[in-house]
Symmetry: C2
Subunit: 137 residues, 2 copies
């Protein structure tokens, strides 16, 4: 049997994501598509991609790590109620960088900005809306 190109498979799957995705969820998605791939392989490939600088790793305040393609480089509004992540249209860093004063010389290579709060669907709602996962906090 021809060896499947798992690396490309993972890259393509990441392309398709609306929001950053966890390694476990990525694995589940691939399996559901009928792919025979092991969880370890997913982690190994993600690790490679990361070292090559192709991945953004979004460490959530609960320890979960979400991955997205670096070429996208978006920031997200994360709803702490339904966990939906809403992509900002552009990265404001270029502008912001000019206004920042560093206390010592520092070469910024990449950055991570996450905004947490309530999306318009969850504002004013009493309980449990929109997601299977438990709310943050």
């Amino acid at each position: 049997m021809a060896r499947p190109d798992h690396r490309r498979l993972i890259l393509e799957t990441l392309q398709k994501q609306e929001q950053p995705i966890s390694a476990q969820a990525l694995f589940a998605q691939l399996r559901q598509q009928g792919q025979t791939i092991g969880l370890a392989t997913v982690y190994r490939i993600l690790s490679h991609l990361r070292r090559e600088g192709l991945l953004c790793c979004h460490g959530q305040p609960e320890g979960e790590i979400l991955y997205s393609l670096a070429e996208h480089h978006y920031h997200y509004l994360t709803c702490i109620r339904c966990r939906r992540m809403i992509r900002l249209p552009a990265c404001p860093w270029q502008e912001w960088e000019k206004t920042l004063k560093f206390p010592e010389p520092f070469q910024v290579l990449y950055h991570e900005l996450q905004l947490f709060g309530l999306c318009h669907l969850c504002q004013g709602l009493p309980k449990e809306v929109g997601g299977s996962k438990t709310p943050l906090q």
Copy 2:
């Protein structure tokens, strides 16, 4: 024996930190001071403090969670070489917020900004400087 006020102990220890600290490191620090406290208690109290909004949780891109007091609310330059975290003098969010356009209504409750790169001590150095931990990435 008088019951120790662990909650206060943890708050005071967090006060003293120069940089955000992991739960494990916090536990180790308390034990070294001669305190008899369990790791579970540390986690339980951190969890309480978090729910009360007293804590900032900095999820690192490797999944590690670092804690700091919310009253401080600082941002950090994190050196990917020596892992040193350099505190920015002020939070620029108030200014930046005005310039942001959201794709849908969203109520921002808190935010997380992390800048990664090389500190001036680690720029141009060939290998392993300044820290016991392995470099990031």
